[in-house]
Symmetry: C2
């Protein structure tokens, strides 16, 4: 790389650093800066509704593809159900609705009209029955399933929907909590409880697979406690990730609904024995919230970090030059390298924008999370090599920032660099998961006393605490009040870290406990 | 194929025919039957909102993929904007809104509450400003573009959105006209009028490409007349297809919006000369209506016909057997053939459902439009051949139904059938377009007198009429009143059929006309 490039990098660096608040200084502001400077999303002038910008949406599309491929591989089909739910249908679910359907967008009129020279809502267009914008679709879908199901031959129904939903949130945060968000919701119908339970677990495993192997976010799998369960569910299973501030983020849920929704919608089927029986149901969903999880797990003070599996651009190539002759030579080489990499199935962009210094380009693509940058200057051409710069390297204790920066960069013979790129990206994907695992391990404790618990959350910054628990809902609320911590999940057997297995004594009540639960502050 | 299979086919045939009203008897009912028996969509219990069932949604997904790939290949990116538009924003567009925003779903409240033991809309949750569920997104998107655009360097913006939109329709028809529907809407911003006009035409050509080469629906390309233009557009370009009842269906539109939306949202940019200028805009969209066009162009009295490029299942394989031994042999062969075809990139389903006769299976897959069926019976195994049955063949004048059925079926040596399948599907794709072209040609006339026009539409059943026109909006309305016909488009130069070129005399006013326009009844 020429001197010019280095110089620009310094200049660009200053600007970029100015744009993103360091995590250590203000974590909340850092998050917003990463979202903004990474061009992922922004607020709209509709209260609580966000705009997902092209770069953010491209990440969502990759995530959708990863999920949808797995849904289809497990036998599911997509369908589409109405945006609106008649109030009476939702009210019928009152008991179930209580948990989620209180703050909703309600459509009451159907016409705009110019009145006295101003456009307003035509009072004569009042609907006989208000329509609720779907906060989730169990009720409207089960009203439809009633027509689809007569006998066990019609089962199972394995349907998923990609849709927008609305929950009237007062305090919003881009991706994490917005009034409107995008999600998928699976709604399945089964002839037996066993089959439904199998489905619930299968889809939770799909979510865990995508979280760990696509998003590179390690998760803990388990059941929700009664207080955190989805209203209307018999059992809610979830995956929980740890963000860089030590807080937990619920990344996906899979619900066993028993016969609750079938009963309320009157959906019975003739079973193999010729008897009428209510259908067994599941539902499961993940949303654009996952992008928030992605950001808070991997990103750094230079901006967004994306796992290669989700990066819309995996490799960016920046030609460097001073003279016109150098420009055409390095740009031609950039195009040739790009073509070669595309031939290997890699998503490549050549950044040949004019009137922009290389350093500014470097920082823009760093902020946008591109995993690998290739700089091509006249000297690289001479040497027949490429300068590869990784977006991140695993941390080494005691290393200076400059040393880390040096480790990110390597000069590799052209053919070797091109041939080795798929392996390099795969390695980075793995490393990112390992880095996140190591970070989580650092902030995970097996805790046996309330004193240690208090110290962990109030003095050490907190994280994941594995504690014995035998309290009820009142005790759970006490933990929230005192420490802002809640039960994130009651883990599956294989999810406990070494040394956390077996029975013990509840950290709060002192009663005997069969197993530890995961406690943490949460988003 | 064994005797058993043939027998079943006869039985199944009766049932299937009972289920679908013939086109000649009741075209409207035929359409609804094809939709229903093809398992494409159904009404929901929300007025005017449809449920797109898995098979229908799978077709939509294929169509989305075909469109989205082309959007991306022409430099566009996807993004997502809010579902809701503040009333004041839409009202600002009053002039533009007049055309589309009169019948809208309006959100006025944000909370449900149990009151007197019943769940209702909390009167205290009234919104300060009503929110309109988007009927289209120009206003909300341009309010956002205001923040994105400062100088010519920020242009062009080439963004598309896949979304649901709502228009309060009183009379609905599955896919063709529903209150909520799914669509894509492109919204682009440009520094010059020339560039914007180029974009409008480019996207219309993308639509025409998908219509003809993916959907196998021939279209006429042209401009809308002033009366049919999108409110707020300077020019609306469209593609028009002909349905089997001779009516036109507008399949896609691409609008040149001039500086209208930029002016009303106040979006100016610093041009290359350093002067502030309003941005030039386009928008373009197609919707789930296209599935209606697909059905009405190709389907027949046996149900849905799908072009191979859009068929979620391109080949279905049905094993035929009487004994258990035959069952395991033919099923194993079905699986082996399926694997071989999948290796060629073909979407295959093996229908090995038990307790169902082959004939019933044949008719189910015919109703669902699967292009090729392979029947595998014990005798096929012996002979090492496969029985291929095409969903359709081009019509031959004077042929009996039985003769046509014979032409659909062929016995082909196994290896040849497998190797030849991609070519067979490609040929069927082409044929379908040719069939539709021939059907359209049959119902297209170059007409010079009002008498002939009247005869064509009132005696001959109508179709596409190429007529000279020099009337204004009042005269257009007269044509609608008298014949239910409207100007579908003012064609591009290369769209006129032979013999229709050149100037002439307006069919209604007798005034001189520079070129013919396309008139037809329309959906």
């Amino acid at each position: 790389m020429g001197k010019n490039g280095n110089q620009q990098q310094q200049q660009g660096g200053k600007t970029a650093a100015d744009g993103i608040t360091p995590r250590a200084k203000d974590y909340g502001q850092w998050y917003l800066d990463v979202v903004k400077r990474g061009d992922l999303a922004e607020h709209s002038n509709v209260r609580g509704c966000m705009v997902i910008k092209p770069h953010g949406y491209a990440v969502w599309e990759k995530l959708q593809r990863a999920l949808d491929d797995r849904f289809k591989a497990t036998g599911h089909q997509n369908a589409y159900f109405p945006l609106f739910i008649p109030l009476s249908l939702l009210a019928k679910e009152e008991e179930h609705a209580a948990g989620f359907a209180k703050e909703c967008a309600v459509v009451t009129h159907y016409r705009l009209k110019a009145m006295d020279g101003k456009v307003g809502v035509d009072p004569e267009s009042k609907l006989e029955e208000p329509l609720v914008v779907r906060p989730t679709s169990e009720t409207i879908i089960w009203a439809q399933y009633k027509n689809w199901i007569q006998s066990y031959r019609d089962l199972p129904i394995l349907v998923n929907q990609w849709a927008n939903v609305v929950r009237w949130e007062m305090r919003t945060r881009l991706f994490l909590r917005t009034a409107e968000f995008l999600w998928q919701e699976g709604h399945t119908a089964h002839a037996t409880e066993a089959e439904a339970l199998e489905e619930v677990r299968r889809m939770l495993e799909v979510y865990a697979d995508v979280a760990e192997n696509v998003m590179a976010v390690p998760v803990v799998k388990g059941h929700k406690s009664e207080g955190e369960r989805f209203a209307g569910a018999v059992d809610t299973q979830c995956i929980e990730g740890m963000m860089q501030d030590g807080k937990a983020l619920q990344m996906g849920t899979s619900h066993y609904l028993g016969q609750n929704f079938a009963k309320s919608a009157g959906v019975q089927f003739l079973n193999k024995e010729g008897k009428l029986e209510y259908v067994y149901a599941t539902s499961w969903g993940v949303s654009t919230r996952l992008i928030g999880a992605l950001i808070m797990t991997h990103s750094d003070d230079a901006g967004l970090v994306l796992p290669p599996a989700l990066a819309p651009i995996q490799v960016v190539i920046v030609p460097i030059y001073k003279t016109d002759e150098e420009k055409s030579a390095t740009t031609a080489e950039a195009m040739a390298v790009a073509d070669a990499l595309r031939g290997k199935g890699i998503a490549v962009k050549v950044d040949d924008r004019e009137g922009m210094q290389p350093g500014a380009k470097y920082y823009e693509w760093e902020r946008k999370g591109v995993p690998v940058r290739i700089e091509i200057g006249p000297r690289d051409l001479e040497k027949g090599s490429l300068c590869l710069v990784r977006r991140f390297v695993p941390e080494v204790e005691g290393e200076t920032e400059q040393e880390a920066r040096r480790r990110k960069k390597s000069f590799v013979a052209r053919a070797e660099a091109i041939d080795g790129m798929p392996a390099m990206l795969a390695e980075m994907q793995k490393e990112l998961l390992e880095i996140a695992r190591a970070r989580r391990a650092k902030r995970t404790r097996i805790i046996d006393t309330l004193e240690d618990f208090e110290h962990f959350f109030k003095e050490e910054g907190g994280g994941f605490a594995w504690v014995h628990w035998a309290g009820g809902q009142a005790e759970e609320e006490e933990m929230v009040r005192r420490f802002e911590t809640s039960i994130r999940c009651i883990p599956f057997d294989d999810q406990l870290p070494p040394g956390a297995e077996g029975p013990g004594t509840c950290i709060l009540t002192g009663k005997p406990s069969e197993r530890r639960v995961l406690m943490a502050k949460a988003y």
